[in-house]
Symmetry: C2
């Protein structure tokens, strides 16, 4: 089973829009047993689009296209499908009614330009879009599936998961596919090359180096490395055994750094511990400017453990809102172990939570002093039994620092909570 | 001048990693006059990589590759370049010293596996990587430029901007290039199709519909639509005139919704107004969980206008930390115009800032009641002269709601500040 993904849009090539659809479709197709062999991004240009359709149709079994289905005149996908398959565009009344319904729900009249979206190639069937006006377009022909979806991520995902995914699974029955299995370990506190030097020799001993059926990828990101094991085999049991053995090798050799062995994000793991241990947390943020709190509230149900936060940029706010002593601020400076601890204690006491967490540092690019470089951060922690703080020095980039510092704070919180009985 | 960008890595195709490099390279190359004609993502597979190198070398003048330069054994780019150009890998001592220097600076010893990164094809020259261990690889041959850069965005950007960009500009002198100009308007408060219906007829009148030299793209995103005008011409003055005329058409017909006419983000515009008018702001957040504050502090120098925030998830916190009256909470509920206004007033007074901003709503997916659906938010505003609040109903997706609600709050703040003398 060979699959390809084509994204259409000038805005993707000239840097105006970030394409996040590849991440979603790639992981979906991978886990379904149709791993993507290629992704291509092309401009809003009829001859380029039709050339790419030709290549894809000749070589792949599953062809997924996104973009160019909107109401404006740089949206060319429907025209190109019509010309490529020599199938005229016809008004589809059900689609038109769906579009009208969406505007009615919002209390608006349908603008003229949206009518265009209801003209679809005769050869295709429309896939209803539950949240937007552009329908998906499906052509199921010659043992192949050709499908165009809207480029807006939420709309693409809704149509893919409700309509296209079940169809693909039905059409290409299990027998014709290999089994693909994958497992992701998430690690914090060790760098990519250090980890490679630790793991590679044992990995090689067990699995050789050119084994087609098993592969280990190292994916570094802010404060983390993800290790992804990919296994493929025609035999399901063999694939399972390989994956289990590989997981054991990683567990045994890197256990001190693993925070999840199922790809769960750091915030998901942290919120799981908070809920399981019935702990509540409040946060006092300086350099991270609200990002720790925002991460803690990204999870539905966070009101069970997250009470409140105080973001104190100024020394005055640290004194007034958190009760940090003026003496400590003067003696050690705002970016110090002592202030981090007083912030964590202060927010915990004022909020009546089990735990207080804090950040104070220099996100940059300005604000450094002789002894306090950009990227320096102190993370503070306080519970009813003890307080502690930890120091890191990260990068010179403000946004990167805010993210890494916030993740470092969540990881410090995680490690401390694991010790609470 | 034709340019192509090739990304290498299984993790990009199977959904493990989001590729943000296309946005940066796309916009850089576009503004330099080498617009990207194509972007391809391929797996870590030697024969696929070499096939793609062949296609690119035959068709394009500028070929940029990212990924596969790391220290681990799924990093194949150097091997493939060596085989494709029939040029053996040789140890480059300057590169090795740079790698060693990076580890020394961090107080670490160089792991064995990093030595591999200093073996580069004889035909190439290394481009020093200021922040990471993988050097860039440049081949300047047959009137073409072939360049491999690390996939880590910060490293790719550093090498591109310091080394590759100046080289491309030198090598392909202006005469051989068309002039490409672009301008981005950012709008809030109007949807894409409505905007199209307003603008399209006037646009068509001025520029026709198939004009190769000028193009208008509509790019919708959370709470915003960006309008991008792209102009190209062999004649610089003609390109400038076209761009000016197109800008006038947009300004005249959509002026009520435009918040920037140079592509500046909403937070940049808001922080500009705060600085220019010497205003300070504090924030009381409920459903947005810290994201408004985090956005306000994404800008360097935000300590000039941002004082502090209180994130109050619970009713108790709204009472204790912000002084919202128990009576108001009981009578109207936490998600109401009245509470939004008391939160904004409370945080402004407690923080001694010129302005207080607030959010209270239901981010979802749970928490809805009969009269208060998921996606409902009240944004509150308070300054010394008046207070106000505005209501929106957004989507059912928690993360999307947090983002849209935060942007809606920033836009409300912007509109209110414009009226302050």
């Amino acid at each position: 089973m060979k699959s390809v993904f084509i994204s259409i849009g000038d805005e993707l090539l000239n840097g105006n829009t970030l394409n996040s659809n590849l991440v979603y479709l790639g992981s979906q197709l991978f886990s379904m047993g149709f791993p993507l062999e290629r992704h291509v991004t092309i401009p809003d240009n009829k001859s380029e689009i039709k050339k790419e359709f030709r290549r894809a149709w000749n070589k792949y079994d599953v062809i997924i296209i996104t973009g160019g289905l909107g109401p404006t005149d740089d949206d060319l996908t429907l025209d190109c499908i019509s010309e490529f398959f020599r199938s005229p565009l016809r008004l589809n009344n059900r689609t038109l009614n769906n579009i009208k319904k969406i505007f009615r729900r919002r209390g608006l009249e349908m603008p003229e330009s949206n009518i265009k979206q209801a003209y679809i190639p005769e050869i295709s069937i429309p896939l209803e879009n539950p949240t937007g006006t552009a329908p998906g377009i499906l052509i199921n022909k010659d043992k192949k599936v050709f499908c165009a979806l809207p480029g807006v991520p939420a709309e693409m995902k809704a149509i893919f998961s409700k309509r296209l995914k079940p169809l693909l699974i039905r059409k290409f029955s299990r027998e014709h596919r290999k089994v693909f299995l994958s497992r992701t370990f998430c690690l914090a506190g060790i760098g990519e090359s250090k980890l490679f030097d630790v793991l590679h020799p044992v990995w090689k001993k067990h699995f050789g180096s050119g084994n087609e059926n098993i592969k280990l990828s190292y994916l570094p990101s802010a404060f983390e490395v993800r290790l992804v094991i990919n296994v493929s085999s025609a035999d399901k049991n063999r694939a399972r055994r390989l994956l289990r053995k590989a997981s054991d090798v990683i567990q045994e050799n890197a256990k001190d750094f693993i925070y999840s062995s199922d790809g769960s994000s750091l915030i998901k793991v942290v919120s799981g511990i908070l809920k399981r241990k019935k702990l509540t947390v409040s946060v006092a943020e300086s350099c991270t400017g609200g990002l720790i709190s925002s991460m803690l509230t990204d999870i539905s149900g966070s009101s069970l453990y997250f009470m409140n936060s105080v973001i104190s940029y100024s020394n005055e706010a640290k004194e007034k809102l958190l009760g940090v002593s003026r003496e400590t601020l003067r003696k050690f400076g705002a970016v110090s172990r002592e202030v981090a601890i007083e912030m964590a204690e202060g927010v915990r006491k004022k909020s009546f939570t089990d735990i207080g967490l804090s950040s104070t540092g220099i996100a940059g690019p300005k604000g450094a002093t002789k002894n306090k470089p950009v990227g320096l951060v102190w993370i503070g922690y306080s519970d009813k039994n003890s307080s502690d703080a930890v120091k890191f020095i990260f990068s010179k980039d403000r946004l990167k620092n805010k993210e890494i510092m916030s993740k470092a704070a969540l990881n410090f919180l995680r490690l401390k909570m694991l010790k609470i009985k």
